[in-house]
Assembly symmetry: C2
Homo-oligomer: 122 residues x 2
DNA sequence: CAGCATCCTGCGTGATACTG
DNA sequence: CAGTATCACGCAGGATGCTG
């Protein structure tokens, strides 16, 4: 047991906590294309399968704040008059993108459609 | 944006749903080393930072069932007398291991300690 | 040993309304 | 525009006790 983390909060547990919430991963993914404003993120985050309802500001605000505190994203507030705030990935956030990409890739391949078809003969 | 508009339940959303819960990822990770019995999984899944309390059967049972229905793991029930049940990764589950590995790797590197130190000069 | 049945609680998510 | 304040609710997750 030289390098076997001493019961430290499992990396996966920390990860789960960090991306807990329904939108954090999607926000990070959205931000990978560059900085986005609050409203843009909001417009891009539609709820339900129909994709009609928008996330409530309360929730988005929380997610954004959590991501900021996790150090994944950075909040940039431009002066005041007509409020303008941009969110962008930090270096850490950028390093996280490939992980999300891996998740998406796997998800697209395994959750897209043929979900539980060839799982019987395992 | 030619191919980025399906609006289909985002892969990440599906992923989040699939691994929702505090133990699913850990269970999958545990199972990567081979089949495990119910009790073994339970013993390996300790709660809290102290790692003393064990997961309650109700919860473990749910997680296991969910993972089975997701097609990530497979339940093998040996006869009856003294109940013996083994859980193992399905092909799909195995294909998912690398993703979890990526998550762990990233987590160990970014959540281990130096969490929010060099996030200012981004 | 490997669960299931019941009860209880905190928190994540949403609706709605208001502000600098 | 970019949030905050309040209220409400469903559900994950834990505590206990029981069973085949």
């Amino acid at each position: 047991m030289a390098k076997t983390s001493p019961a430290r909060t499992c990396p996966v547990a920390a990860f789960q906590k960090m991306i807990s919430g329904k939108y954090k991963l999607r926000i990070v993914w959205d931000l990978k294309d560059g900085p986005r404003r609050y409203g843009e993120i909001r417009s891009g985050l539609l709820r339900g399968a129909s994709g009609s309802a928008e996330i409530t500001p309360r929730v988005l605000s929380r997610e954004l704040k959590a991501l900021t505190m996790s150090g994944l994203i950075d909040r940039k507030d431009f002066g005041e008059v007509p409020p303008k705030v941009e969110y962008r990935l930090t270096r850490k956030g950028k390093s996280f993108v490939p992980v999300v990409a891996a998740i998406r890739e796997w998800g697209e391949r395994n959750l897209g459609e043929a979900t539980a078809l060839a799982d019987a003969a395992e």
